[in-house]
Symmetry: C2
Subunit: 215 residues, 2 copies
């Protein structure tokens, strides 16, 4: 297996989603063509991605869906249980705590943490503990990935406590761009920025057509 770059890995996960849907519809084989359409890339990219992880196709029959699912699942570690914690149980944090899609995809939210005693609920479906218990919990349960949904101002400190305790991957919803040291991975989802970007891209994209030749 050759070295995979980040964009390939992200695509592999998306192929897998599409393939699971195709399989549930009773499909047996698929062409690079179809998969490319489904995730919005050219067929050449699909074939290249698959050859990167040595998934065999048939010169005329395309790819077998079960084979693809098996190989992609193995490459991505789909067999493993993915345990995450949610830090900050406000509106967004608690919405995520009950998000059905996580369970469907093998993501298990094992606990929430909050600094507000009124939100602590150790016997809830997904228990919410005091945030001071977080480091011990991370260490004892060996949690590696967490979701940050605390206010702006608290985010940086919360993050450093998490990484100190062993968290390596963070999905951050606080509206600040968090960074961390080597070997740690942060994905910032800034919802305000996402919406603004839509407005900006529409505004500036529109402008481009008429102005196009003036450049």
């Amino acid at each position: 297996m050759k070295e995979l770059n980040k964009s390939t890995i992200l695509r592999l996960a998306r192929y897998l989603r599409v393939l699971q849907k195709l399989k549930s519809l009773g499909f047996v084989k698929v062409f690079s063509n179809n998969l490319g359409d489904a995730i919005g890339v050219t067929p050449a990219v699909v074939r290249k991605d698959f050859s990167m992880i040595s998934i065999p196709g048939n010169k005329r029959g395309g790819y077998n869906i079960d084979t693809l699912i098996a190989h992609l699942g193995a490459a991505l570690g789909k067999d493993q249980v993915h345990e995450v914690i949610i830090v900050g149980c406000g509106r967004i944090g608690s919405a995520l705590m009950e998000y059905r899609e996580f369970a469907k995809e093998g993501i298990h939210v094992v606990a929430g943490f909050d600094s507000d005693p009124a939100r602590v609920a150790a016997s809830a479906n997904v228990p919410i503990y005091d945030i001071r218990e977080m480091p011990d919990f991370i260490r004892s349960r060996g949690i590696t990935v967490g979701i940050v949904a605390v206010p702006d101002a608290a985010a940086a400190q919360v993050l450093s406590r998490m990484t100190e305790a062993g968290i390596q991957g963070v999905l951050n919803f606080a509206p600040v761009e968090l960074k961390c040291s080597e070997g740690c991975l942060i994905h910032n989802v800034n919802l305000g920025l996402e919406i603004e970007n839509l407005f900006y891209l529409l505004k500036l994209g529109d402008r481009q057509s008429p102005v196009h030749e003036l450049t």
Copy 2:
């Protein structure tokens, strides 16, 4: 002004966020250096981005923050009010409806829509209407951007009704990759996938170090 590519536009918005924070801290000028660090790019990118929209700097004194904010704001249309609707008022939809950060950034959630009569609440702070009223609302208010937070199965149909009525930009939280026609812009935020990607990148990233020389 030269043509801006997508990644430049996305960076401009991020510079603006950082600059607003710097300004609120009393800073007056900033170097391409500093801004690069803040959003994780090299100083050359920052200077290039600014020269694309003709923002002047001082050969030794860096950039004036007020000038930057004014230019970036103008380029991005920060003066305009950004009105959005939220379609699907379940957990995630309603969490977003009350999201403070939107208001702070000039994003105004003007209405929610849901197919469940129990969720309709026309006199709420942000009113929730029956989804059948959505197309008329979009048309009469001239809404161009919407958030989709409906279940998986409903997403495609909801999207087509939205775009037919005039929506041009969509932030989609339903766990399917929506696509739409020319001139429409969709940003898919698949939360399950985001979390999985963290696990995948950690798994495959880790592997890379030891395997690195075997390639």
